[in-house]
Symmetry: C2
Subunit: 211 residues, 2 copies
DNA sequence: TATAACGTGAACACCGCTGTTCGACTTAGC
DNA sequence: GCTAAGTCGAACAGCGGTGTTCACGTTATA
């Protein structure tokens, strides 16, 4: 947590800030995460307005748009990690994957839009750095599932992780397009990914609605 | 074909144009499809330059950016249809799907980026109109596969079509990111989607490299 | 070859976003 | 209650994109 403040040369030095300043910063980062989560090219004016703060105040705390994006990205990742930390990823890899999807599918689309913003403002190294944590969690799960024979091994781990995230993301797009209702999303994603991960020659598991 | 010219109030009226004008228009539409296929926010200056044409010339043939996007989109769809028309979609739905993927996976990413551009410049109705043709082809195939018992029926057709296109698109992103080589793309997509489409309780087909 | 259509660069006005400065006002904290 | 820190709107310069006009050069075509 707090990973979004005082990263680089941002004006948030270690010097003690006043309470209202901290409140402003928090409101800005939160608004940035929301706005950029919806629209990667949201302007700083929009973000300031959404934060209930003047545009000048925003520039008083962040030197550039890149810093705002970085802060929003860090915040979203921290929030996501908090949620995902509560998920039990032990036991049958198939059930663990289902739990992961259930908990995380709605996080992915905001993260994706944020990522799109980040990819235009932040250096590639910084993005990898931010992405490393969340990625490792899933990679470990997939690797374990492969080792235990629950998941296929004829496709690279990176590809499988990509499929998982891609399908999760596409679900939110389907919802936006009105072709899918939120209450079916997790089931559809789980049924799809579990089948996609099944080793060739093995029957696809039945995923009867209940997680 | 020729679906991209003279759609609405574009300056391409039915009046006979000179040969060099037609050549310019064609170069512009082609360049637009390429540029917008790479970057949905490519400027008209970029497109004109890529077409080897002055910016003013572009405005002589198209009233607005939207018209250029529409023309590029129409062209890309026409081109895609031409390619897909050569693919045999009869016989075993699984093999037909594999052929479809083999022929079309590399078309999807350009179409996607183009779609992103279109979604910001064109009305939703126009987009649906353009998308209807290509979508129908796949929907028919998936529906047939379900009817014949080759594909699962516990998920909506729209969702399955979405999964197919999403996975195809993600492959091109993986290639861009350097995590996948183009010669493996079709195999990975096919293996993934075929498994995802397999009815629960049925073994996942083996897709030993050669399609 | 005449002429209308076409291509062109330069220049224009307009817009929105970025990042900055200034002066005045409000508030937190000692 | 004093002071430094914070907030704010207005206004600035710079940039890049859009869409338009103009005057001049080029080319197709009858």
């Amino acid at each position: 947590m707090l990973g979004y403040c005082g990263r680089m040369g941002s004006k948030n030095s270690t010097a003690t800030k006043r309470a209202d300043a901290l409140r402003s910063i928090d409101a800005i980062v939160q608004a940035a995460a929301e706005c950029l989560g919806k629209n990667p090219e949201a302007s700083l004016s929009e973000i300031a307005r959404a934060a209930g703060v003047g545009r000048v105040t925003l520039y008083a705390h962040f030197n550039s748009r890149a810093e705002v994006v970085d802060a929003a990205m860090s915040r979203a990742i921290d929030r996501g990690n908090e949620v995902l930390d509560t998920v039990d990823l032990t036991g049958d890899p198939r059930l663990a994957l289902a739990r992961y999807i259930e908990a995380g599918w709605h996080l992915v689309d905001q993260a994706r839009a944020l990522l799109a913003a980040a990819q235009r403002e932040l250096p590639a190294g910084r993005i990898r750095e931010l992405h490393a944590g969340p990625a490792a969690r899933v990679e470990t799960l997939v690797a374990r599932g492969r080792a235990e024979g629950a998941f296929r091994t004829d496709l690279p781990i990176a590809w499988m992780v990509n499929v998982l995230h891609t399908v999760m993301h596409s679900a939110t797009e389907e919802i936006r397009a009105g072709r899918l209702t939120p209450d079916h999303a997790a089931d559809h994603i789980t049924a799809t990914v579990l089948a996609a991960f099944t080793p060739p020659g093995t029957p696809v598991p039945e995923t009867g609605g209940g997680a």
